[in-house]
Symmetry: C2
Amino acid sequence: MSRKKRAGLDTDAVVQEAIQLADELGYDKLTLAALAARLGIKTPSLYNHIQGLDDLRQRMAIHGLEGLYSALLHAVKLDAGNPIQAVAEAYVAFADENPGVYAASLLAPDAQVPRWQELGEQIVQLISNLAEPYSLEPDEVIHWVRGFRSMLHGFASLRQAGGFGMPIALDESLQYMVKTYMRGAQPQR
Amino acid sequence: MSRKKRAGLDTDAVVQEAIQLADELGYDKLTLAALAARLGIKTPSLYNHIQGLDDLRQRMAIHGLEGLYSALLHAVKLDAGNPIQAVAEAYVAFADENPGVYAASLLAPDAQVPRWQELGEQIVQLISNLAEPYSLEPDEVIHWVRGFRSMLHGFASLRQAGGFGMPIALDESLQYMVKTYMRGAQPQR
DNA sequence: AAATACAAACTAACATCATTAGTTTATTTT
DNA sequence: AAAATAAACTAATGATGTTAGTTTGTATTT
Protein backbone atom coordinates (compact mmCIF):
# COMPACT_ATOMS: atom_id res chain seq x y z
CA MET A 1 0.00 0.00 0.00
CA SER A 2 2.51 2.55 1.11
CA ARG A 3 5.13 2.97 -1.57
CA LYS A 4 8.21 4.82 -0.44
CA LYS A 5 10.58 6.03 -3.05
CA ARG A 6 13.94 7.58 -2.77
CA ALA A 7 13.15 10.99 -1.45
CA GLY A 8 9.63 10.62 -0.20
CA LEU A 9 8.44 13.03 -2.87
CA ASP A 10 5.08 12.89 -4.56
CA THR A 11 3.06 15.26 -6.69
CA ASP A 12 1.33 16.83 -3.74
CA ALA A 13 4.55 17.56 -1.88
CA VAL A 14 5.91 19.26 -4.99
CA VAL A 15 2.81 21.40 -5.39
CA GLN A 16 2.83 22.23 -1.70
CA GLU A 17 6.42 23.43 -1.86
CA ALA A 18 5.66 25.37 -5.03
CA ILE A 19 2.84 27.16 -3.27
CA GLN A 20 5.09 28.07 -0.40
CA LEU A 21 7.75 29.35 -2.77
CA ALA A 22 5.24 31.37 -4.75
CA ASP A 23 3.95 32.92 -1.55
CA GLU A 24 7.48 33.93 -0.65
CA LEU A 25 8.88 35.07 -4.00
CA GLY A 26 5.72 36.03 -5.82
CA TYR A 27 3.79 34.00 -8.35
CA ASP A 28 5.69 35.22 -11.39
CA LYS A 29 9.05 34.65 -9.74
CA LEU A 30 8.43 30.98 -9.14
CA THR A 31 10.82 28.90 -11.25
CA LEU A 32 11.27 25.18 -11.62
CA ALA A 33 14.97 25.63 -10.90
CA ALA A 34 14.31 27.25 -7.54
CA LEU A 35 11.64 24.71 -6.73
CA ALA A 36 13.89 21.76 -7.50
CA ALA A 37 16.73 23.22 -5.48
CA ARG A 38 14.43 23.67 -2.53
CA LEU A 39 13.34 20.03 -2.78
CA GLY A 40 16.93 18.85 -3.04
CA ILE A 41 16.61 17.43 -6.54
CA LYS A 42 17.60 18.47 -10.05
CA THR A 43 15.16 20.35 -12.25
CA PRO A 44 14.37 17.55 -14.71
CA SER A 45 13.46 15.24 -11.83
CA LEU A 46 10.41 17.41 -11.24
CA TYR A 47 8.95 15.95 -14.39
CA ASN A 48 8.45 12.66 -12.56
CA HIS A 49 5.74 14.39 -10.55
CA ILE A 50 4.40 17.20 -12.71
CA GLN A 51 4.04 17.64 -16.45
CA GLY A 52 5.77 20.98 -16.55
CA LEU A 53 5.35 24.56 -15.42
CA ASP A 54 1.87 24.97 -16.85
CA ASP A 55 0.69 21.81 -15.19
CA LEU A 56 2.18 22.92 -11.90
CA ARG A 57 0.36 26.23 -12.14
CA GLN A 58 -2.92 24.48 -12.83
CA ARG A 59 -2.46 22.32 -9.76
CA MET A 60 -1.63 25.40 -7.71
CA ALA A 61 -4.78 27.06 -9.01
CA ILE A 62 -6.93 24.18 -7.85
CA HIS A 63 -5.27 24.10 -4.44
CA GLY A 64 -5.85 27.83 -4.26
CA LEU A 65 -9.55 27.58 -5.03
CA GLU A 66 -9.92 24.79 -2.50
CA GLY A 67 -8.25 26.89 0.17
CA LEU A 68 -10.30 29.93 -0.73
CA TYR A 69 -13.56 28.04 -0.71
CA SER A 70 -12.68 26.45 2.60
CA ALA A 71 -11.87 29.84 4.11
CA LEU A 72 -15.14 31.34 2.91
CA LEU A 73 -17.15 28.40 4.16
CA HIS A 74 -15.46 28.65 7.52
CA ALA A 75 -16.34 32.33 7.72
CA VAL A 76 -19.99 31.66 6.97
CA LYS A 77 -20.24 28.92 9.57
CA LEU A 78 -18.52 30.94 12.24
CA ASP A 79 -20.01 34.38 11.97
CA ALA A 80 -23.75 34.07 11.61
CA GLY A 81 -24.28 37.72 12.49
CA ASN A 82 -23.12 39.38 9.29
CA PRO A 83 -22.08 36.63 6.88
CA ILE A 84 -21.48 39.03 4.01
CA GLN A 85 -18.92 41.08 5.92
CA ALA A 86 -17.42 37.90 7.31
CA VAL A 87 -16.98 36.40 3.85
CA ALA A 88 -15.51 39.62 2.53
CA GLU A 89 -12.93 39.74 5.29
CA ALA A 90 -12.10 36.07 4.88
CA TYR A 91 -11.65 36.53 1.14
CA VAL A 92 -9.29 39.46 1.45
CA ALA A 93 -7.40 37.82 4.30
CA PHE A 94 -6.88 34.69 2.26
CA ALA A 95 -5.51 36.65 -0.68
CA ASP A 96 -3.30 38.60 1.67
CA GLU A 97 -1.87 35.58 3.46
CA ASN A 98 -1.51 33.39 0.37
CA PRO A 99 -0.55 35.78 -2.41
CA GLY A 100 1.14 33.18 -4.57
CA VAL A 101 -1.63 30.67 -4.57
CA TYR A 102 -4.27 33.38 -4.86
CA ALA A 103 -2.59 34.64 -8.03
CA ALA A 104 -2.61 31.09 -9.36
CA SER A 105 -6.30 30.73 -8.58
CA LEU A 106 -7.07 33.48 -11.09
CA LEU A 107 -5.94 31.40 -14.03
CA ALA A 108 -8.67 30.89 -16.59
CA PRO A 109 -10.24 27.55 -15.67
CA ASP A 110 -9.53 24.74 -18.10
CA ALA A 111 -12.81 23.18 -19.17
CA GLN A 112 -10.99 19.84 -19.44
CA VAL A 113 -10.51 19.73 -15.67
CA PRO A 114 -13.90 19.09 -14.02
CA ARG A 115 -12.68 19.73 -10.48
CA TRP A 116 -11.68 23.19 -11.55
CA GLN A 117 -15.04 24.13 -12.99
CA GLU A 118 -16.68 22.55 -9.97
CA LEU A 119 -14.76 24.64 -7.47
CA GLY A 120 -15.61 27.81 -9.32
CA GLU A 121 -19.27 26.91 -9.19
CA GLN A 122 -19.10 26.10 -5.49
CA ILE A 123 -17.66 29.50 -4.72
CA VAL A 124 -20.28 31.23 -6.85
CA GLN A 125 -22.97 29.20 -5.09
CA LEU A 126 -21.67 30.14 -1.67
CA ILE A 127 -21.74 33.80 -2.58
CA SER A 128 -25.15 33.48 -4.19
CA ASN A 129 -26.51 32.21 -0.90
CA LEU A 130 -25.37 35.42 0.73
CA ALA A 131 -27.75 37.38 -1.48
CA GLU A 132 -30.78 35.52 -0.22
CA PRO A 133 -31.89 38.19 2.28
CA TYR A 134 -32.34 40.63 -0.57
CA SER A 135 -34.97 38.54 -2.35
CA LEU A 136 -33.59 39.40 -5.75
CA GLU A 137 -34.80 38.18 -9.11
CA PRO A 138 -32.65 35.33 -10.52
CA ASP A 139 -31.04 37.68 -13.02
CA GLU A 140 -30.28 40.17 -10.32
CA VAL A 141 -28.64 37.53 -8.19
CA ILE A 142 -26.14 36.93 -10.97
CA HIS A 143 -25.40 40.64 -11.18
CA TRP A 144 -25.12 40.89 -7.41
CA VAL A 145 -22.63 38.01 -7.25
CA ARG A 146 -20.54 39.40 -10.05
CA GLY A 147 -20.44 42.75 -8.33
CA PHE A 148 -19.52 41.27 -4.99
CA ARG A 149 -16.73 39.16 -6.43
CA SER A 150 -15.44 42.13 -8.41
CA MET A 151 -15.25 44.21 -5.27
CA LEU A 152 -13.40 41.59 -3.30
CA HIS A 153 -10.97 40.62 -6.01
CA GLY A 154 -10.35 44.22 -6.93
CA PHE A 155 -9.70 45.18 -3.36
CA ALA A 156 -7.37 42.24 -2.74
CA SER A 157 -5.59 42.76 -6.03
CA LEU A 158 -5.06 46.50 -5.72
CA ARG A 159 -3.92 46.10 -2.16
CA GLN A 160 -1.42 43.42 -3.14
CA ALA A 161 -0.12 45.55 -5.99
CA GLY A 162 0.34 48.53 -3.71
CA GLY A 163 -2.31 50.36 -5.69
CA PHE A 164 -3.77 52.07 -2.64
CA GLY A 165 -0.72 54.10 -1.80
CA MET A 166 -0.46 54.46 1.93
CA PRO A 167 -2.01 51.33 3.44
CA ILE A 168 -3.90 53.31 6.04
CA ALA A 169 -7.22 52.12 7.42
CA LEU A 170 -7.60 49.46 4.76
CA ASP A 171 -9.85 47.41 7.00
CA GLU A 172 -12.23 50.31 7.31
CA SER A 173 -12.18 50.81 3.56
CA LEU A 174 -13.17 47.19 3.04
CA GLN A 175 -15.92 47.50 5.59
CA TYR A 176 -17.20 50.70 4.02
CA MET A 177 -17.21 49.18 0.55
CA VAL A 178 -19.13 46.10 1.58
CA LYS A 179 -21.51 48.03 3.77
CA THR A 180 -22.25 50.44 0.96
CA TYR A 181 -22.88 47.65 -1.52
CA MET A 182 -25.16 45.91 0.96
CA ARG A 183 -27.16 49.04 1.65
CA GLY A 184 -27.55 49.68 -2.05
CA ALA A 185 -28.90 46.20 -2.62
CA GLN A 186 -31.55 46.56 0.01
CA PRO A 187 -35.09 46.97 -1.29
CA GLN A 188 -36.04 50.65 -1.34
CA ARG A 189 -38.94 51.57 0.84
CA MET B 1 16.86 70.00 -34.67
CA SER B 2 15.43 66.91 -36.29
CA ARG B 3 17.86 64.03 -35.95
CA LYS B 4 17.09 61.06 -38.12
CA LYS B 5 18.93 57.88 -37.36
CA ARG B 6 19.18 54.65 -39.20
CA ALA B 7 15.79 53.11 -38.65
CA GLY B 8 13.77 56.03 -37.42
CA LEU B 9 13.46 54.35 -34.06
CA ASP B 10 13.28 56.13 -30.76
CA THR B 11 12.26 55.16 -27.25
CA ASP B 12 8.67 56.09 -27.80
CA ALA B 13 8.32 54.04 -30.95
CA VAL B 14 9.73 51.03 -29.11
CA VAL B 15 7.31 51.44 -26.22
CA GLN B 16 4.44 51.95 -28.62
CA GLU B 17 5.22 48.74 -30.44
CA ALA B 18 5.65 46.92 -27.13
CA ILE B 19 2.19 48.05 -26.08
CA GLN B 20 0.70 46.82 -29.29
CA LEU B 21 2.45 43.48 -28.92
CA ALA B 22 1.35 43.12 -25.31
CA ASP B 23 -2.22 43.85 -26.32
CA GLU B 24 -2.02 41.11 -28.93
CA LEU B 25 -0.08 38.40 -27.11
CA GLY B 26 -0.82 39.24 -23.50
CA TYR B 27 1.32 41.16 -21.07
CA ASP B 28 3.23 38.16 -19.77
CA LYS B 29 3.92 36.85 -23.25
CA LEU B 30 5.71 40.01 -24.34
CA THR B 31 9.39 39.24 -24.95
CA LEU B 32 12.25 41.41 -26.06
CA ALA B 33 13.00 38.91 -28.80
CA ALA B 34 9.53 39.22 -30.29
CA LEU B 35 9.60 42.98 -29.91
CA ALA B 36 12.96 43.31 -31.64
CA ALA B 37 11.87 41.04 -34.49
CA ARG B 38 8.77 43.13 -34.99
CA LEU B 39 10.87 46.28 -35.18
CA GLY B 40 13.28 44.68 -37.61
CA ILE B 41 16.30 44.84 -35.32
CA LYS B 42 18.25 42.42 -33.13
CA THR B 43 17.41 42.06 -29.48
CA PRO B 44 20.48 43.80 -28.04
CA SER B 45 19.79 46.85 -30.19
CA LEU B 46 16.74 47.51 -28.04
CA TYR B 47 19.10 48.56 -25.29
CA ASN B 48 19.87 51.71 -27.23
CA HIS B 49 16.35 52.86 -26.45
CA ILE B 50 15.35 51.13 -23.23
CA GLN B 51 17.28 49.96 -20.21
CA GLY B 52 15.87 46.47 -20.26
CA LEU B 53 12.64 44.60 -19.75
CA ASP B 54 11.85 46.16 -16.39
CA ASP B 55 12.39 49.63 -17.76
CA LEU B 56 10.17 48.84 -20.73
CA ARG B 57 7.42 47.67 -18.43
CA GLN B 58 7.68 50.84 -16.38
CA ARG B 59 7.32 52.94 -19.48
CA MET B 60 4.36 50.87 -20.58
CA ALA B 61 2.80 51.39 -17.16
CA ILE B 62 3.08 55.15 -17.46
CA HIS B 63 1.64 55.14 -20.97
CA GLY B 64 -1.16 52.98 -19.64
CA LEU B 65 -2.00 55.34 -16.82
CA GLU B 66 -1.94 58.26 -19.20
CA GLY B 67 -4.32 56.52 -21.54
CA LEU B 68 -6.59 55.49 -18.71
CA TYR B 69 -6.69 58.95 -17.21
CA SER B 70 -7.39 60.45 -20.58
CA ALA B 71 -10.24 58.02 -21.17
CA LEU B 72 -11.80 58.76 -17.80
CA LEU B 73 -11.47 62.49 -18.27
CA HIS B 74 -13.09 62.24 -21.66
CA ALA B 75 -15.99 60.30 -20.16
CA VAL B 76 -16.55 62.93 -17.50
CA LYS B 77 -16.52 65.77 -19.99
CA LEU B 78 -18.85 64.05 -22.40
CA ASP B 79 -21.52 62.54 -20.23
CA ALA B 80 -22.63 65.11 -17.69
CA GLY B 81 -25.78 63.15 -16.88
CA ASN B 82 -24.36 60.28 -14.87
CA PRO B 83 -20.62 60.81 -14.64
CA ILE B 84 -20.11 57.88 -12.27
CA GLN B 85 -21.61 55.35 -14.65
CA ALA B 86 -19.82 57.01 -17.54
CA VAL B 87 -16.47 56.72 -15.80
CA ALA B 88 -17.12 53.12 -14.85
CA GLU B 89 -17.92 52.19 -18.41
CA ALA B 90 -14.93 54.07 -19.74
CA TYR B 91 -12.64 52.34 -17.24
CA VAL B 92 -13.80 48.85 -18.10
CA ALA B 93 -13.79 49.60 -21.81
CA PHE B 94 -10.22 50.84 -21.62
CA ALA B 95 -9.06 47.70 -19.83
CA ASP B 96 -10.94 45.60 -22.34
CA GLU B 97 -9.52 47.32 -25.40
CA ASN B 98 -5.98 47.68 -24.08
CA PRO B 99 -5.39 44.55 -22.02
CA GLY B 100 -1.63 44.60 -22.31
CA VAL B 101 -1.11 48.16 -21.30
CA TYR B 102 -3.76 47.92 -18.60
CA ALA B 103 -1.91 44.99 -17.04
CA ALA B 104 1.26 47.07 -17.12
CA SER B 105 -0.50 49.98 -15.43
CA LEU B 106 -1.02 47.81 -12.34
CA LEU B 107 2.68 47.67 -11.59
CA ALA B 108 3.54 49.04 -8.17
CA PRO B 109 4.49 52.67 -8.82
CA ASP B 110 8.16 53.43 -8.36
CA ALA B 111 8.53 56.34 -5.96
CA GLN B 112 11.65 57.38 -7.91
CA VAL B 113 9.51 58.28 -10.93
CA PRO B 114 7.51 61.44 -10.16
CA ARG B 115 5.35 61.25 -13.26
CA TRP B 116 4.15 57.86 -12.11
CA GLN B 117 3.10 59.00 -8.67
CA GLU B 118 1.54 62.05 -10.24
CA LEU B 119 -0.65 60.09 -12.64
CA GLY B 120 -1.89 57.90 -9.83
CA GLU B 121 -2.87 60.96 -7.87
CA GLN B 122 -4.62 62.50 -10.85
CA ILE B 123 -6.77 59.43 -11.30
CA VAL B 124 -7.59 59.32 -7.62
CA GLN B 125 -8.47 63.01 -7.77
CA LEU B 126 -10.74 62.52 -10.74
CA ILE B 127 -12.60 59.74 -8.96
CA SER B 128 -12.73 61.72 -5.75
CA ASN B 129 -14.56 64.46 -7.58
CA LEU B 130 -17.23 61.97 -8.52
CA ALA B 131 -18.05 61.52 -4.85
CA GLU B 132 -18.88 65.16 -4.36
CA PRO B 133 -22.66 64.78 -4.63
CA TYR B 134 -22.63 62.53 -1.60
CA SER B 135 -21.19 65.17 0.71
CA LEU B 136 -19.01 62.65 2.51
CA GLU B 137 -16.55 63.30 5.30
CA PRO B 138 -12.90 63.46 4.08
CA ASP B 139 -12.19 60.01 5.51
CA GLU B 140 -15.25 58.60 3.86
CA VAL B 141 -14.23 59.99 0.51
CA ILE B 142 -11.06 57.94 0.72
CA HIS B 143 -13.03 54.82 1.47
CA TRP B 144 -15.50 55.58 -1.28
CA VAL B 145 -12.73 56.01 -3.84
CA ARG B 146 -10.98 52.83 -2.78
CA GLY B 147 -14.22 50.94 -3.07
CA PHE B 148 -15.04 52.37 -6.47
CA ARG B 149 -11.60 51.58 -7.84
CA SER B 150 -11.76 48.09 -6.39
CA MET B 151 -15.05 47.44 -8.11
CA LEU B 152 -13.85 48.65 -11.47
CA HIS B 153 -10.49 46.94 -11.39
CA GLY B 154 -11.99 43.73 -10.05
CA PHE B 155 -14.65 43.70 -12.73
CA ALA B 156 -12.18 44.40 -15.52
CA SER B 157 -9.68 41.90 -14.19
CA LEU B 158 -12.11 39.05 -13.62
CA ARG B 159 -13.67 39.65 -16.98
CA GLN B 160 -10.29 39.59 -18.69
CA ALA B 161 -9.32 36.39 -16.86
CA GLY B 162 -12.52 34.69 -17.90
CA GLY B 163 -13.54 34.59 -14.26
CA PHE B 164 -17.20 35.26 -14.98
CA GLY B 165 -17.84 32.08 -16.90
CA MET B 166 -20.36 32.79 -19.60
CA PRO B 167 -19.91 36.43 -20.62
CA ILE B 168 -23.64 37.06 -20.68
CA ALA B 169 -25.07 40.47 -19.90
CA LEU B 170 -21.80 41.78 -18.55
CA ASP B 171 -22.77 45.35 -19.33
CA GLU B 172 -25.83 44.98 -17.16
CA SER B 173 -23.74 43.49 -14.38
CA LEU B 174 -21.45 46.49 -14.45
CA GLN B 175 -24.40 48.84 -14.43
CA TYR B 176 -26.00 46.98 -11.54
CA MET B 177 -22.80 47.00 -9.52
CA VAL B 178 -22.22 50.72 -9.94
CA LYS B 179 -25.85 51.59 -9.41
CA THR B 180 -25.93 49.56 -6.22
CA TYR B 181 -22.78 51.18 -4.88
CA MET B 182 -24.15 54.61 -5.71
CA ARG B 183 -27.44 53.95 -4.00
CA GLY B 184 -25.64 52.65 -0.94
CA ALA B 185 -23.55 55.78 -0.69
CA GLN B 186 -26.57 58.05 -0.75
CA PRO B 187 -27.45 59.69 2.56
CA GLN B 188 -30.22 57.72 4.25
CA ARG B 189 -33.39 59.64 4.80
C1' DA C 1 33.89 69.18 -48.86
C1' DA C 2 36.40 66.68 -45.48
C1' DA C 3 36.94 65.38 -40.81
C1' DT C 4 35.06 64.37 -36.53
C1' DA C 5 31.59 62.93 -33.23
C1' DC C 6 27.92 60.28 -31.96
C1' DA C 7 24.04 57.45 -31.88
C1' DA C 8 22.19 53.20 -33.31
C1' DA C 9 22.79 49.23 -35.25
C1' DC C 10 25.59 44.80 -35.12
C1' DT C 11 28.19 40.17 -33.44
C1' DA C 12 29.78 37.37 -29.78
C1' DA C 13 29.27 35.54 -25.43
C1' DC C 14 27.02 34.28 -20.99
C1' DA C 15 23.73 32.96 -17.38
C1' DT C 16 19.27 31.33 -16.53
C1' DC C 17 15.30 28.84 -17.62
C1' DA C 18 12.03 25.07 -19.32
C1' DT C 19 12.04 20.94 -21.57
C1' DT C 20 13.25 16.27 -23.80
C1' DA C 21 15.86 12.00 -24.24
C1' DG C 22 18.31 8.51 -22.46
C1' DT C 23 20.63 6.32 -18.36
C1' DT C 24 21.31 4.76 -13.66
C1' DT C 25 19.60 3.27 -9.30
C1' DA C 26 16.86 2.26 -5.48
C1' DT C 27 12.75 0.20 -4.04
C1' DT C 28 8.94 -2.74 -4.63
C1' DT C 29 6.84 -6.76 -6.45
C1' DT C 30 7.02 -11.35 -8.20
C1' DA D 1 16.94 -13.89 -5.95
C1' DA D 2 15.03 -11.87 -10.21
C1' DA D 3 12.23 -8.78 -12.52
C1' DA D 4 9.67 -4.65 -12.82
C1' DT D 5 8.99 -0.04 -11.83
C1' DA D 6 9.36 4.53 -10.23
C1' DA D 7 12.33 8.27 -9.31
C1' DA D 8 16.38 10.10 -9.45
C1' DC D 9 20.35 11.45 -12.60
C1' DT D 10 23.36 13.45 -16.78
C1' DA D 11 23.53 15.49 -21.21
C1' DA D 12 21.74 18.35 -24.57
C1' DT D 13 18.67 21.88 -26.87
C1' DG D 14 16.30 26.13 -27.71
C1' DA D 15 14.56 30.54 -25.64
C1' DT D 16 15.25 34.43 -23.04
C1' DG D 17 17.50 38.68 -21.00
C1' DT D 18 21.72 40.96 -20.58
C1' DT D 19 26.61 42.82 -21.15
C1' DA D 20 30.74 43.98 -23.77
C1' DG D 21 32.91 45.35 -27.60
C1' DT D 22 32.67 46.56 -32.65
C1' DT D 23 30.99 48.51 -36.91
C1' DT D 24 28.48 51.91 -39.46
C1' DG D 25 25.58 55.41 -40.91
C1' DT D 26 24.05 60.09 -40.04
C1' DA D 27 24.83 64.66 -38.21
C1' DT D 28 27.72 68.21 -36.77
C1' DT D 29 31.76 70.73 -37.04
C1' DT D 30 35.79 72.41 -39.14
